[in-house]
């Protein structure tokens, strides 16, 4: 890296908090915007899959999910405590909470792996699982957003050529709700 790399030593923050914290808060805002979009997508698509498995089918027993969530949230507390101990120079306390955080993280990953194993191998729920019927495509999709679909057709023909060249309609497979949920 260039020798001209700068620091801001000597330039006191114009706010009561440091620029590092402001940067991290801004970054968290971007994360919140990102995940809000995914959650909105989940809400938008929920219930639109007409064949199973539905969320209610695969989340009958959510004990693993709850335990994993508790472990994940607990790791936030322990890493905070580790950080506090580090700043106070309490090395042994820091090491204790640091490894506890790692253990909680590993436990969360194991719980998630168990959960995903069940979803994929017991419920056959992958990103491309849920089958939608063609009759539903005509009766439900076109009647709900007729102009939307028509506009999509118009765009296609305007941009790329006659509709007759369009490839044959394919079977739809969708697990969008699950995918978004997994992201969240």
């Amino acid at each position: 890296m260039s020798a001209e790399a700068t620091t801001h030593a000597g330039h006191a923050s114009s706010l009561p908090i440091s620029h590092e914290k402001v940067g991290m808060i801004s970054f968290l805002v971007t994360e919140a915007a990102f995940f809000t979009t995914l959650i909105m997508s989940y809400l938008y698509y929920i219930g639109k899959s007409k064949t199973g498995p539905q969320p209610a089918d695969v989340f009958e027993d959510i004990s693993v999910t709850i335990i994993s969530t508790v472990l994940l949230l607990s790791s936030s507390i322990t890493v905070h405590l580790a950080d506090g101990a580090f700043k106070k120079g309490k090395h042994s306390v820091f090491v204790r909470f640091w490894f506890l955080t790692i253990a909680l993280g590993v436990a969360f990953l194991v719980g998630t792996a168990i959960e995903w194993h069940g979803l994929i191998f017991e419920h056959d729920l992958t990103i491309a699982t849920n089958f939608f019927r063609h009759d539903l495509f005509h009766s439900g999709r076109f009647s709900r957003f007729p102009r939307d679909a028509r506009r999509a057709d118009d765009e296609y023909s305007l941009l790329s050529g006659p509709v007759a060249t369009r490839p044959a309609r394919q079977d739809g497979k969708c697990g969008v709700g699950f995918v978004v949920l997994a992201f969240c």
Partner: protein
């Protein structure tokens, strides 16, 4: 006063050493210049794409380009101009001047700054690599579903579009985070937020829009990638329950704030140039600042005015139409502020001011046609016609690019130590003004006459379109001359231009308090600020502004 590195020392160094210094730099000034150079290169590329399209449309049934090539060209032209030209130009100029304007040594996170630049550049190169890898994307710059689905875009061109913009978008978000931290935390002592230059204030709001509006686009791009490669069907209308409409919502939730991500910094540049060249304090600093905040918030709630023709419910049409009318209010406030600043001022018609005046008049036209399009029935009538193309070019080119030119002529002396040649600057302005209006003015008429956008040709039985298309194409030639003069001016001025001195415009903000170009560390001592015009206070200790500012 700070001492700059002697120019001869830089010139005498071997090329690899100079290149290494630039490639590894984390200095906001060098990164700003690299943003600007890269953006100018893409400006030429995007301009050539536009010229090819205009050449194809010069008369009916022309066969210079194939339909598919034409589709690729308008996709890449829009994508390039929005993401690889205008935004990096604005970010680059902000990168250069914001730390100087607030008396900071650098951006808050210099390495993140460099990372953002390289992500932008490699994202852009990646997108353009599609030309070599079998063909550029042909999906339009807003990539409407289901055209982007695997069934309709079978090759990898759409993937290049998605991934290229995703990469450069992450860089942009990094830049947004960096600007927020820099402006909030690294201001000079005494520079309260109520005293920052308006350009800085506006960049803060632009950064806010970036961190809020870009991530939804990133999320939508990832969902689209899942559709194309992992078998999901978010936007594939061939699958029941999937929705092309939802892509439009996600895209325009980003896309409309994006218009203001581009427009707000342009407003900021104009807010710096007009007072200096009118020899007056900006009229209504507070109202410009509040109008910026108003635009920032309202712009997040108007996105679906791009979707009037998809058939939303009547209440939604009414809401989005009303919100769009509403956003014209703060924008209009700024126009009155700029006009009132000039009123009674001692106007100096140097090139930066000429471009600022060009901005005012062209952006006014773009704004007025925008108000027309805010009315849903008007949009129904002219949607996807050349009228819309004319509207957004009057906003994005006549408005934003003219403002960028004003800012570039204004800050070029600070960046290089040389003033751009004034005569060439005036020629540049008039050729661009005439060429721009000749190109895009007729599009209003051809659009109202029913000519759809994105068609690669038109039939002989529409002779009423022919003259307007001919004029538009001739306008491109005039613009090409204007840009040739512009780049020649840069070359001539860098080589033989007169030294600028530290403060060639007798300006008032802090960037003019250091040398041209500034040293690596910007300021030898961090200046103390007491008013909104700190350099005025230094120059006029007998009549400082702070005596009259009470906030």
């Amino acid at each position: 006063m700070a001492i700059a590195e002697p120019e001869s020392a830089i010139v005498s160094r071997p090329l690899p050493s100079i290149l290494h210094e630039w490639v590894t730099t984390v200095d906001h000034k060098k990164l700003g210049i690299m943003y600007i150079i890269a953006a100018f290169i893409f400006l030429v590329i995007g301009g050539i794409e536009a010229a090819l399209m205009r050449w194809q449309l010069i008369r009916p049934a022309e066969e210079i380009l194939s339909p598919d090539t034409f589709n690729q060209l308008f996709t890449m032209h829009g994508t390039t101009m929005i993401f690889f030209v205008v935004m990096p130009l604005l970010i680059g100029m902000a990168n250069y001047v914001v730390p100087l304007m607030i008396g900071a040594r650098d951006m808050a996170f210099p390495r993140l700054n460099a990372f953002s630049f390289w992500l932008y550049l490699f994202g852009a190169i990646f997108t353009y690599y599609s030309f070599i890898a079998g063909g550029a994307p042909s999906i339009g710059w807003f990539a409407y579903a289901p055209l982007t689905e695997k069934a309709f875009s079978r090759d990898s061109s759409t993937d290049y579009w998605i991934l290229g913009l995703l990469i450069s978008g992450i860089g942009t978000v990094g830049g947004g985070v960096n600007f927020i931290a820099t402006i909030l935390c690294l201001r000079a002592p005494g520079m309260k937020l109520s005293k920052v230059p308006l350009f800085v204030w506006i960049i803060l709001w632009t950064a806010f829009l970036i961190v809020v509006a870009f991530p939804p686009f990133t999320a939508a791009q990832i969902m689209l990638l899942f559709d194309r490669h992992l078998g999901s069907h978010f936007f594939d209308t061939q699958s029941p329950g999937a929705s092309a409409l939802f892509w439009q919502h996600l895209f325009w939730f980003f896309g409309h704030p994006e218009v203001y991500i581009l427009a707000l910094p342009a407003f900021g540049m104009i807010s710096e140039v007009i007072p200096v060249f009118s020899r007056k304090v900006i009229f209504g600093y507070e109202s410009v600042a509040m109008a910026t905040a108003g635009i920032g918030f309202i712009s997040l709630g108007v996105w679906a005015h791009h979707m009037f023709s998809v058939g939303m419910s009547r209440p939604l049409d009414i809401y989005f139409s009303g919100a769009t009318f509403l956003i014209a209010v703060p924008t209009g406030i700024k126009m009155f502020n700029w006009l009132a600043t000039m009123y009674g001022g001692k106007i100096i018609l140097k090139t930066p001011m000429l471009f600022a005046l060009g901005f005012l008049s062209m952006f006014l036209i773009g704004g007025l046609t925008g108000i027309m399009l805010a009315a849903q029935p008007v949009t129904e009538a002219v949607t996807d016609s050349y009228f819309v193309v004319a509207h957004f070019h009057y906003v994005a080119f006549g408005g934003i690019l003219f403002a960028i030119m004003a800012g570039f002529y204004y800050w070029f002396p600070k960046m290089t130590g040389k003033i751009l040649n004034e005569s060439l600057g005036v020629w540049n302005f008039w050729f661009l003004l005439v060429g721009f209006n000749l190109t895009f003015g007729p599009m209003h008429i051809s659009g109202i006459l029913g000519m759809p956008r994105r068609v690669y040709t038109y039939h002989m039985f529409r002779p009423e379109w022919e003259i307007w298309n001919l004029l538009s194409t001739l306008g491109v030639l005039v613009q090409a001359i204007a840009f040739a003069i512009f780049f020649w001016n840069i070359y001539v001025s860098l080589r033989w231009g007169e030294p600028a001195g530290d403060d060639p415009w007798d300006a008032w903000t802090l960037e003019w308090a250091t040398t041209s170009p500034p040293p690596v560390y910007n300021f030898e001592t961090v200046p103390e600020v007491k008013s909104r015009r700190p350099l005025w206070d230094l120059k006029h200790p007998d009549d400082p502004d702070w005596k009259f500012e009470h906030f």
